[in-house]
């Protein structure tokens, strides 16, 4: 059975990630490939997005891995701050839609930090400006 053909560079990499509520939650910085299966095939195991992933993509792998570990340590939610399993992808169009909330995306940690420690304290941060 013929399946849809996708080109990773043209249609996946550097595309915007959008969560199920429509919020923007990062770019597809890199793709993780699975180990070869019994049939020798490899699949896309996960999308990589967030601290360190882009550095890894542009050739600074060690620096990227360091940053990834640093963020994982600084925001100990326990999750890998960069890896989005492919099973969470709902749709691939001109952007990639995830079937999860950006709150749960590990790369969201820095957004949460800035929100809780900086912007959240400024009066008016909870209110949409046209009120």
């Amino acid at each position: 059975m013929a399946g849809r053909v996708l080109y990773a560079g043209l249609q996946l990499l550097d595309r915007q990630l959008v969560d199920r509520t429509g919020r923007l939650c990062g770019k597809v910085d890199d793709l993780e490939l699975s180990e070869p299966g019994a049939d020798g095939n490899r699949h896309i195991a996960a999308l990589l997005s967030g601290p360190g992933a882009l550095l890894g993509r542009t050739g600074h792998r060690r620096l990227g891995d360091w940053l990834r570990r640093f963020v994982a340590g600084a925001f100990p939610d326990g999750e890998d701050p960069v890896r989005i399993p492919f099973t969470r992808v709902a749709e691939i169009g001109n952007h990639v839609t995830l079937d999860m909330d950006s709150e749960d995306a590990a790369s969201f940690a820095s957004e949460r930090w800035v929100r809780d420690h900086v912007i959240g304290h400024v009066p008016g941060s909870r209110v949409l400006a046209d009120q």
Partner: protein, 112 residues
């Protein structure tokens, strides 16, 4: 392994001929769905050669229509790329990727 480990790697066929660099990866969505709405994306082939920019712009595969001079230039460059089936690639950690076959056996970038 990540896709960035493959992109921009030089590719050399079984006779030692340099085919260019990997500029894109062709995936086919025919894997078994694993708890998600989408079928898994299987790695099928590498797109090698044809110039990094022209492959990224997608004038040929994406059927970008114009403007005419850009289309003529980039589609022509993109079409020079070859498609290397994944099973012909010997995966190494470093250096160029070697193929098990020769250049002549490789299809060009056909119309999508």
């Amino acid at each position: 392994m990540r896709i960035s480990d493959l992109l921009d790697r030089p590719v050399v066929d079984v006779a030692g001929v340099d085919l260019g660099k990997v500029h894109d990866v062709r995936l086919v969505q025919d894997g078994p769905p694993r708890g998600s709405a989408l079928a898994a994306l299987r790695m099928e082939a590498l797109v090698v050669g044809g110039g990094a920019l022209s492959v990224r712009l997608g004038y040929h595969r994406h059927r970008v229509r114009g403007p005419a001079p850009l289309r003529a230039l980039f589609a022509a460059l993109e079409r020079r790329a070859v498609v290397v089936p994944w099973h012909q690639v010997v995966v190494t950690d470093d250096g160029p990727l070697h193929l098990r076959c020769g250049r002549a056996e490789l299809p060009g970038l056909e119309e999508v």
